[in-house]
């Protein structure tokens, strides 16, 4: 198949600060600096992985791209299927709102919370169809819902059941069916398998991969699980404390990690080989600092074993061609 690399989303220098309010008059006393100047571009039929620890801002990034949050600074561009560019940094314009919402969907981490417990499975999947008035004919709509349910590995007879009647894996399948209803071009998967049982996780990943190939969808995978991110992504961005610190094609990043933090992340993964244990060789100490008071210079310098003079003064920029890294060691 000929692939025309159409862009879907371009985010430029995205910054997101959440105000902290305190005192009697709820004055702003500080900011949670969730994201600092992130650049990302997502093309058609491409998977991008975002990896980082809790609180690093990876979920915030996903939510900015779906327009759940507005960025504090920076700009966000959306491209329709003809390649026209729209500035969607602030409130969505009426002319583009419906196309944007149809094109970008999201799958959340916890399928126990993300499905309305008072709606039946049929109603959950029908809701987006009715909002966007996709079908005029009821029969067509029902057929489409049944077809979708069967596509994600559920029986069409489940439409009248409620979410609590299903296991975690099945609920995540329902969430996937809901995300698929409007034939989106990009699905943001925020930790799609981390709430599921180990033996079920791989089923869901396989389903997501099949769907991607069938419908030619792009994914933005957000996860803390390096193995998972490597498996599903073409390109990986490593985020630490709101900063993108390394960006590379998946295999390249794993064969040749450059940033000390990326190396630490990789060595912290348990070995699965009791004859060759490796966790006692992990060098890092401490925990990620609070995003309210991030350290000056490189965000990783307080925990970094290779720290040099410049690290606590100047923040390194993300530099490089295919394989980008933000670290003074590679200046």
């Amino acid at each position: 198949m000929e692939v025309i690399n159409l862009k879907i989303i371009k985010a430029k220098n995205i910054k997101k600060y959440f105000p902290i309010r305190g005192g009697v008059f709820l004055k702003v006393t500080g900011y949670v600096k969730a994201l600092e100047s992130i650049n990302i571009e997502i093309n058609d039929f491409e998977s991008i992985g975002i990896v980082g620890e809790s609180g690093c801002g990876k979920t915030t990034l996903g939510r900015i791209i779906t327009k759940i949050y507005d960025p504090t600074e920076g700009s966000l561009y959306f491209y329709d299927e003809k390649g026209n560019e729209y500035d969607v940094t602030n409130k969505l314009d009426k002319s583009i709102k419906s196309t944007f919402r149809k094109s970008i969907q999201m799958i959340f981490q916890n399928p126990y919370d993300s499905l309305d417990p008072r709606l039946t499975v049929g109603e959950i999947i029908k809701e987006p169809l009715q909002i966007h008035r996709v079908f005029k004919n009821k029969k067509e709509e029902i057929d489409y819902i049944n077809e979708l349910l069967e596509r994600v590995g559920l029986s069409a007879t489940y439409t009248t059941r409620y979410p609590h009647e299903f296991s975690g894996g099945q609920r995540q399948r329902i969430a996937i069916a809901r995300a698929l209803t409007l034939k989106p071009r990009l699905i943001i998967c925020d930790e799609p398998t981390s709430a599921l049982d180990v033996s079920v996780q791989n089923q869901i990943i396989e389903l997501l991969k099949e769907i991607q190939n069938e419908f030619k969808i792009s994914y933005l995978f957000i996860s803390h699980n390096l193995d998972l991110i490597h498996h599903v992504s073409d390109k990986i961005v490593v985020i630490y404390l709101g900063n993108a610190i390394e960006e590379a094609p998946a295999d390249e990043l794993f064969e040749n990690p450059l940033h000390p933090y990326t190396k630490v992340l990789m060595s912290s993964m348990p070995s699965w080989d009791p004859g060759n244990r490796k966790l006692d060789k992990v060098l890092v100490t401490g925990e990620p600092p609070s995003p309210i008071n991030p350290p000056l210079g490189c965000p990783f310098h307080p925990r970094c074993t290779y720290k040099i003079d410049a690290c606590d003064k100047i923040q390194p920029e993300l530099l490089g061609a295919e394989h980008k890294v933000a670290c003074h060691l590679y200046d």
Binding site: S167, D197, V198, S199, Q201, N202, L226, P270, D273, T285
Partner: protein, 332 residues
């Protein structure tokens, strides 16, 4: 470590729950031993009964639970028959427990110090200043920076990793002989997880406790355990040393779990997985409970429950495939 004494013995433990949907056979006839100074890994997915087993050891089971049979022997006494008043001297003192969520297992209304004092007062009869010294010393040993300041802080002022360290310090105050760690690092980040696991290892070396390590993460088990027991749907399906289980997994479920690790080589290939889902405890299938998801299933698996078969090297497996002297039957 091989010939060390048993410190805890669990025989034919059976715990059922009465629920609206029927009887839930949460733990069904399991037996195992914990040896001195070892780490025993208990692996299984949600609802397999691993937490219920350990709550039974701590005598903290929900009153709705019925213990139908079995005994838990600790120092030649059956824990299940000890009166609650007497057991209070054991729980927290000789058997400690580390929970999954450090945030919700501390009382948010008391400082870490006050909660440590409570332990010291009840079990060690220490005064406030003595327990302060002991607490701060212990916090320093588990790697908490500025323990004097942390001692006065409330749980919400500390991060997850720091709280989990505090929880470990709190448990070590009484130097318990058995530590039950129920998913102690699941809520933590990988880099912090590595540190907490290393801490637990060095503590075991120093204090010589036995640890029951409960988790669903086989990777963590491979790093921590001396022996591994695999649980599925209220049953122990496989027992063995960590090396054996990882090198030669026998039960189809254990094999499936081992293969579920996403390896680098799988990139752009289909991931192996176990079909189906974990059955709900009210509707466990007849015969072997894994049979609906097993790819080696035979008629007998659907009818009769397999018994435990010793295939040598302290490796036990409950599966019909191994009934013939430990050799896998050829005819399927």
């Amino acid at each position: 470590m091989k010939n060390s004494k048993n410190i805890l013995e669990i025989n034919n433990l059976k715990i059922y729950f009465k629920t609206f949907e029927g009887i839930s056979k949460a733990v069904d006839n399991i037996s195992f031993v914990l040896k001195e100074k070892e780490t025993l890994g208990l692996v299984g997915e949600s609802g397999c009964g691993k937490t219920v087993t350990n709550l039974a050891i701590m005598k903290l089971l929900n009153p709705k639970a019925t213990i139908l049979s079995g005994e838990i022997l600790y120092q030649d006494k059956n824990i299940l028959e000890i009166e609650e008043e007497d057991f209070k001297k054991v729980r927290g003192k000789e058997i400690g427990m580390i929970f999954q969520e450090p945030m919700s297992s501390f009382d948010p209304l008391y400082t870490i110090g006050e909660q440590m004092y409570e332990v010291c007062k009840t079990h060690l009869k220490l005064s406030k200043t003595e327990s302060r010294d002991k607490g701060i010393d212990m916090m320093r040993r588990v790697g908490i920076p500025e323990p004097e300041k942390r001692y006065e802080q409330y749980p919400h002022e500390m991060s997850g990793g720091m709280l989990q360290r505090a929880m470990i310090a709190l448990n070590l105050l009484t130097n318990p002989r058995i530590l039950i760690a129920d998913e102690p690092t699941t809520a933590l980040d990988v880099t912090v997880q590595a540190q907490v696991l290393n801490l637990m290892k060095s503590i075991q070396e120093e204090f010589g406790n036995s640890i029951i390590f409960i988790t669903h993460d086989l990777g963590v088990i491979s790093e921590m355990a001396d022996r591994v027991h695999v649980m599925y749907a209220g049953k122990l399906v496989e027992k063995g040393t960590t090396e054996e289980i990882f090198k030669e997994p026998k039960h189809p479920y254990t094999k499936g779990l081992m293969e579920s690790k996403i390896r680098r080589e799988y990139k752009s290939k289909t991931l192996p997985y176990i079909p189906g889902t974990v059955p709900s405890p009210q509707h466990f299938p007849d015969g072997c409970r894994f049979n609906p998801r097993c790819s080696f299933v035979r008629n007998i698996c659907k009818e009769e429950e397999p018994h435990e078969i010793n295939i040598g090297n302290d490796h036990l497996v409950s599966c019909w495939l191994y009934v013939n002297g430990g050799n896998k039957l050829e005819d399927n």
